[in-house]
Amino acid sequence: MTVSKEQMLDSLSLRCGKETAHKLVSARIAVCGLGGLGSNIATALCRAGVGNLHIIDFDKVDISNINRQQYSISQIGMYKTDAMAMNLYEISPFCHVRADTVRLDEINIPKFLSDDDIIIEALDDASAKALLVNTILEKFPFKKLIAASGMAGLGSANDIITRRVTSSLYICGDAKNEVSPSSPLYASRVMLCAAHQAHMALRIICGETQP
């Protein structure tokens, strides 16, 4: 079955009203990292009707990702950007997806992220997270940045929260539970954190600045 752009838009407007639909369709969001957090964030935002998604990752889908990331067995070996672009197209063929297969660093962050209004940090390495956050706050202090820290293990789901640190920076997670051999990542808890990040982005798009 195929659907037209008008049908998709009508369905979105019917669900959340024309004004909100317009805000969602014109939103520009970057998702940095397409692992357990990013693949779930991009999926949620695409389903919600966000019109412009910029997905960034350097890695390929691996068998060890399937336990929590939004990829299928048949996508193992593909670049995550290609696999996710394919998945997003299946959800909403009219979502404009820009995919960059690149490892973000201090030098290229300003170049790759200049066009996005909301930036979501969904990396896995603690130093890479800090580097992205430091660089964005320094180069683009007025962009909204939604980062994540602490979602590993089987701790309570209720410990995952969204905190507004400053006017531009939000942090989701439990702030302490690091991934380790004794505290691996579980789909449910990573998805909770991803949902917090995606939901905060939707709230910002609709004019709500508080968590």
Partner: protein, 64 residues
């Protein structure tokens, strides 16, 4: 007095860099905001606390 991560505390007399080391932070895993503005890593050695400062030290752990 200053407010660091929401807690009122006596104004530290040492530099940001010395304070962060003393508190056991790993420099590569943090972001520091002072009065709503990011403190660049290159400035940690030369930035000092002043009464009334509001400081947020965000520490990242791995996983995603």
């Amino acid at each position: 007095m200053v407010i660091i991560n929401g807690r009122e505390t006596t104004t530290p007399q040492n530099s940001m860099s010395e304070y962060l080391s003393e508190q056991g932070y790993f420099f590569s895993r943090i972001a520091v905001e002072k009065n709503g503005e990011i403190v660049k890593k290159s400035q940690y050695d030369t930035v000092y606390f002043q009464d009334g400062d509001i400081v947020e030290i965000v520490s990242f752990v791995g996983g995603g």
